[in-house]
Structure formats: structure tokens, C-alpha cells
Amino acid sequence: DTAVSQTPKYLVTQMGNDKSIKCEQNLGHDTMYWYKQDSKKFLKIMFSYNNKELIINETVPNRFSPKSPDKAHLNLHINSLELGDSAVYFCASSQVQGEAFFGQGTRLTVV
């Protein structure tokens, strides 16, 4: 039973489109995250969210927006996709300052 699952695993789309990546965790964790891993393997925090607070990395364009229908889900919506958005996006969850459990990643390719 997968702890953190995200879909789709691969996403190829054209510039200008809007797309969403879904994430679900069944660990009962309070906090969920979205990370972006670029071609150089650098894992950069985009958002962290619990049921009280959304913390946004100030370098993330406002075309990216997290949406949490409930505690177990944190989806990532991206508007007006650009070539530079191509990367692997990871969802993760944790208890406060605990081990982060990661999903398998979504490889986004914008053409």
C-alpha cells in the first residue's frame, strides 16, 4: 500500500496549457509538500501546507498553486505552462520536522 502516491508519473504537454498533478498520502501526516527537482537534481521546496498554514517559497511563480481538498491530499495546479517548468515534481508528507516520505515523482515535459 503506497504511502505517498502522485499521478500522473509522466506528463507531456504543450506550452500555455494548464495541468494538475495529484498527490495523496495515507500516513495521517499533518504536513504535505511539493518539491521541484531540476535537471541537475537539485530538490527545491515549492510549498509546504498543513491544515493551518500554507507557506510559499517566494521564488515560485504565481502560475503554480497548491490545492488541498482535505488533509490527505495536496494537488498542484499549474497555469500557462512554460518550457522552464519542465522538471520532476515530488510530493512529500511528514509529521512536524519528522522524516519526509516522498512520492515517486511526476516527470513534466513542456514542449
Binding site: 537534481k41 515517486q104 515523482g105
Partner: protein, 110 residues
């Protein structure tokens, strides 16, 4: 954002050799974690260190947290091809998401 610098960025060694990977920061962390990531997968936690000077061992892997809780090292003894992967350190501070270093890509050849 607290910067974590990892070195070396790339490491290619032969089976049986020893190696050390370093993780340094100018910030103090309440905890420091080491993750290993394989191609096509998300990072998986290896260890968490929380006390300055702490040493933890995981089979052939030895992790150390600096006395000032600003740096850490990962030492692998007698590396094996199965150790190949991307090793990431991540610093934790209360109220902040984990902040990752840029990783050390390790290749162990038979």
C-alpha cells in the same frame, strides 16, 4: 532559505573503496537528515541526526553531525555497486520545510 552545500557533487569509485560525502551550512539546524534517491524514484530516508557530535551507523554507512549542528558527513566503507545513487542531505528547522543540498551522485563500479 538556509543553504546546504554538499561535496563532492560527483563521485565515481571502484567496489571496495571507502568514501566520505560532506554537507555544510552556515545555519544551525535542529536536525539533519540523509536521503538516498535512485533513478525514477523519490528520496528515501537513511538517517536523522539531532544532537551535535552524534554518530550513527547503518551497516557500512556512518553518519556524523557536527558539534555546532551546522554540518554533517556520510562515510561509506567498502562501497558496493548497490550503493550507487544520489545522496542528499536535508536540514530541518522548526517551522520550516526540509531544505535539501544539491546532492552527491555516487557511482560504484564492480
Amino acid at each position: 532559505t538556509q543553504l546546504l552545500e554538499q561535496s563532492p557533487q560527483f563521485l565515481s569509485i571502484q567496489e571496495g573503496e571507502n568514501l566520505t560525502v560532506y554537507c555544510n551550512s552556515s545555519s544551525v539546524f535542529s536536525s539533519l537528515q540523509w536521503y538516498r534517491q535512485e533513478p525514477g524514484e523519490g528520496p528515501v530516508l537513511l538517517v536523522t541526526v539531532v544532537t551535535g557530535g552524534e554518530v550513527k551507523k547503518l551497516k557500512r554507512l556512518t553518519f556524523q553531525f557536527g558539534d555546532a549542528r551546522k554540518d554533517s558527513s556520510l562515510h561509506i566503507t567498502a562501497a558496493q555497486p548497490g550503493d550507487t545513487g544520489l545522496y542528499l542531505c536535508a536540514g530541518g528547522r522548526a517551522g520550516y520545510a526540509l531544505n535539501f543540498g544539491k546532492g552527491t551522485s555516487l557511482l560504484v563500479t564492480p
